[in-house]
Symmetry: C2
Subunit: 292 residues, 2 copies
Amino acid sequence: MKIKNVCILGAGTLGTRVALQSALSGYQVRIYDIFPTALEKSKKTMEKIIGQLAKNTGLEEAAGFNAINSIIFTDSPANAVKDADIINESVLEDIKVKNEVWSLFGQIAPEKTIFTTNTSFLLPSMFAEISGRPEKFCALHFHDVFFAKGVDIMPHAGTDPGLIPILEDFGRSLEQVPVIIKKENHGYLFNSILGAILSSAGRLLANDVAEVEAIDKSYMVNFRVDIGPFGMMDTIGLDTVWHVTKNQNDPISQNFAKLLKNYVDAGKLGEKTGEGFYSYPKPRYKAPDFLG
Amino acid sequence: MKIKNVCILGAGTLGTRVALQSALSGYQVRIYDIFPTALEKSKKTMEKIIGQLAKNTGLEEAAGFNAINSIIFTDSPANAVKDADIINESVLEDIKVKNEVWSLFGQIAPEKTIFTTNTSFLLPSMFAEISGRPEKFCALHFHDVFFAKGVDIMPHAGTDPGLIPILEDFGRSLEQVPVIIKKENHGYLFNSILGAILSSAGRLLANDVAEVEAIDKSYMVNFRVDIGPFGMMDTIGLDTVWHVTKNQNDPISQNFAKLLKNYVDAGKLGEKTGEGFYSYPKPRYKAPDFLG
C-alpha cells in the first residue's frame, strides 16, 4: 500500500514534530487535538522549527511555510481521520486517555487505516484490542524527528508482520532511521541502554567512587561527546530519573534514589528549574575548559 | 615538586604512547623493557605515530623525531630509573609480573621518585606495599593518549593526598583530561559505564528483543556517534567480553555469555580475527547507508 494521507493524534511536542516532518516529506497531513488552543500552539511551534531549520540546514523558508499551510489542524475526529492511510498517535502518556482515543478512532477510521502509537513507555498491546484492529496496530516511536532521527518500529504479538516493511518505508521517507524491535520491550531499545548508563553513573556517585564532574568527564572524553550521564539526567529531569531509580532494588541504587530524592524535595529538578547536578543556563560541563 | 624526568616501565602499546607524549611535552624520558626487541618495536611505533600526528594534527614532523631521539631506550633497570621524578608502569597485566617489577624498582629508584601504575583492571593497593613506598604509590591510567585523552588518577587508601594535585598537573601537561577517582574501583569510572552499556545491549540481544544491527542503530542515531555497543565489543575482542559477561549472575546475561562463547569457540573474536558480530575490514556499521 502507498501512504498518502497522514493523521496525527495529539498536537503536543512530538505530534507537532511528526506532523511537520510528514508535511515536509510531501504527505497530506491532518493533526487533531481535543483542545483548539493546543492546535494554535502547535502551528506556532512549527513556524519556530521552520525558522531554525532554515538557519541550520539550509531548508528554504518558503517551502517550510508551504508545508505548514498544507496541514489541516482540526479538533474534529471525523475530519482528522478522513481518508487516512495511517494514524500516528501522540496523546497524553496515560493508559486511560490512550484507550479512549483508540476506542473512538477505531470506530470512525476508514478500513484501510494503519494504526500506530508513539507511546514512550507503554506497550502497543495495551491498546491494540480496544482499537478493534490489533493486526493493523503497531508502535511507531519517534525521538526528536529533527535532531535524533531514529524511529522505533515495535509490533505486539498480534501485529501483521506485513506491516513492518510498510512502516520502515514510511520512516525512511520521513528521513528517519528505522529500528526494528522484534518483541515488546518497555522503552524500546534506547531507554534500556540509556537507563543502564545513568544507573551505573549513579551507582559510582552513590558509592562515593567519584564526583559528578569526574564521572561526566570520564564519559565525555572517552566517548568524545559533549554531554555526560549527569548532564543527561539534568536534561531528562531529576524527578523522572528518581521515579525510575527508586524501583531498582540493589542497595547502591537505593542510595542513589535517596540522593535524587533530596534534589527533588529541594525543587532542583535539573535544567527545567535552573538547578540540578549543574547550574543553568551555563552548566559547568558546557564550559570550554571543562575538558581542559 | 617539579617533574622533569619520566621513567616508563614496559614498552608495549600504552607505555610507548605515554613515553612519546611525555617526550613531546618536553620531559626527559627513559623507557625500559626487559626485551630489547620490544624497545626496537616501540621506537618504530613511535615513528609511525609521529607520521600520523603530522598528517592529522599538523605536528611538525621534525619536532616529533627530535622528541623520539631524546628518549633513552634501555633494558637496564638502573639506567631506566636514573634521576627519575616519576615512574609510570605499563608492564604485563599480570599480578605476579607487576609485583616483581615493583619490588625491584622500589629498591633501586631514587628516594624522590613517585610511583604510578597504568594497570587497567588491577588495583594500586595490590602493589603499593611491595614497592616499599605505598604513600607515594597511585594509579595513573592513560587510555589512548592521542585519541581518547583522559587520564585516571586513582589513589589507594594509603596514598598521600598531596600526590593528587601533582599528578593532575602532570596529566594536564601531557594534554590529558585528569579524572579523579576518590577510592579504588576496578576499571576506574569508564569501564563501569562501558560495561553497563555492553551488558544492557547483550541482554537485549540474548532476550531476542532485537538484532545486533537494530541495537547498534538505535544507539548510534540517538547518541549521534559512529559506533554502537556490538561494534565496540568487536573492537574490544569477544573473548574479553565473554570473560567479563560469564561472571554476571542473572539468567539473561548468562544467555548472552553462552552466545558469546559460541563466537569464541568458532574463533570469531571480532575485529582482530576479521569476524565477530560484524565482518572486517568493512563492517556493516561503518557503511555510509547503515543509518540510511
